[in-house]
């Protein structure tokens, strides 16, 4: 197919959605590690709520991606860690510092 405006727009959109899924995958992996540790009850509840929201967002993204082409396999998308930028604000944070900031942000 020629690179028409529609084709280009479709490809960019698909890239965007795949990026969103990859970041959700990255954040979900981080959350799973975090939830394996000890936390006060309220913090744990917030982290669990965040996990539920991310899973729901991922499900709707999967469905949207399948509207492009039912033959796509969104389950094979890997993980990105760009989502961390929001919490580290450009500074390199240690894993524990990031975890503290992340948990606090969910409050």
């Amino acid at each position: 197919m020629a690179l028409t405006m529609t084709r280009t727009r479709t490809q960019s959109t698909l890239n965007k959605f795949v990026g969103l899924v990859a970041n959700i995958n990255g954040e979900l992996g981080f959350l799973a590690e975090l939830l394996a540790q000890e936390h006060p009850e309220d913090v744990r509840a917030r982290l669990l709520a965040r996990q539920v929201k991310l899973e729901a967002d991922k499900a709707t993204l999967f469905e949207t991606i399948l509207q492009f082409d039912p033959g796509l396999e969104p389950g094979r998308i890997g993980a990105l860690q760009e989502w961390k930028k929001f919490y580290s604000r450009g500074r390199g944070l240690t894993k524990s510092a990031l975890a503290t900031r992340y948990a606090r942000h969910q409050l």
């Binding site: 969103l20 967002d57 709707t60």
Partner: protein
């Protein structure tokens, strides 16, 4: 119910009429139910898709999109892309030229080619008249096909034949006139 000499029961005309009518109405109702169930299933699928799109709009920080997007009767990609139905009709007619084809046969071929399913005869008729008919009439205007049937003849399917670029021009006809003339004088 009166009994005939042969021992068979014979229902009176009004009873037969009633049974017949009840059967027909039941049949129509069954069709409507099937159609309604198919439409309801489709509605649920579309609502689900819309919910997913709304959620994704919120995820890309544009939650207002569902409210501002207008309603568009989008092109139905039933044939795998825009213009494919007409291309297919063109191929069929070109393939059988100079033979002609009637609309009903074309409908049956389209059903097989595109796996079309109609829940009722009415929808099938609508498809034949509105979709296939419209495409054929547009091709008629474009002088790609010619109409072999009489428009005044009711209850008969249309008959169509490919014309394409095979139709001779006036100049070609004139140039062949001598040829015909010599054949006549033989």
């Amino acid at each position: 119910m009166p009994e005939s000499i042969s021992g068979q029961t014979r229902a009176s005309p009004h009873v037969r009429w009633l049974v017949n009518k009840i059967a027909v109405v039941k049949g129509d109702l069954a069709r409507v139910d099937t159609e309604q169930a198919l439409l309801e299933a489709r509605r649920q699928r579309l609502l689900h898709a819309l919910n997913a799109l709304e959620s994704v709009s919120a995820q890309v920080s544009r939650p207002e999109l569902p409210a501002i997007a207008p309603v568009v009767q989008a092109h139905n990609e039933r044939y795998g892309g825009r213009g494919r139905l007409r291309t297919w009709i063109r191929d069929v007619l070109q393939g059988i030229a100079p033979e002609s084809i009637d609309t009903f046969t074309l409908l049956a071929m389209a059903e097989a080619a595109f796996q079309l399913e109609f829940s009722s005869d009415k929808l099938r008729q609508n498809y034949c008249r509105n979709t296939l008919g419209r495409a054929l009439r547009a091709m008629l205007t474009a002088k790609e096909v010619e109409r072999l049937h009489d428009l005044e003849t009711a209850n008969k399917p249309g008959v169509w034949r490919w014309v394409g670029d095979k139709a001779p021009t006036l100049a070609e006809l004139a140039s062949r006139a001598d040829e015909v003339e010599s054949w006549h004088s033989r």
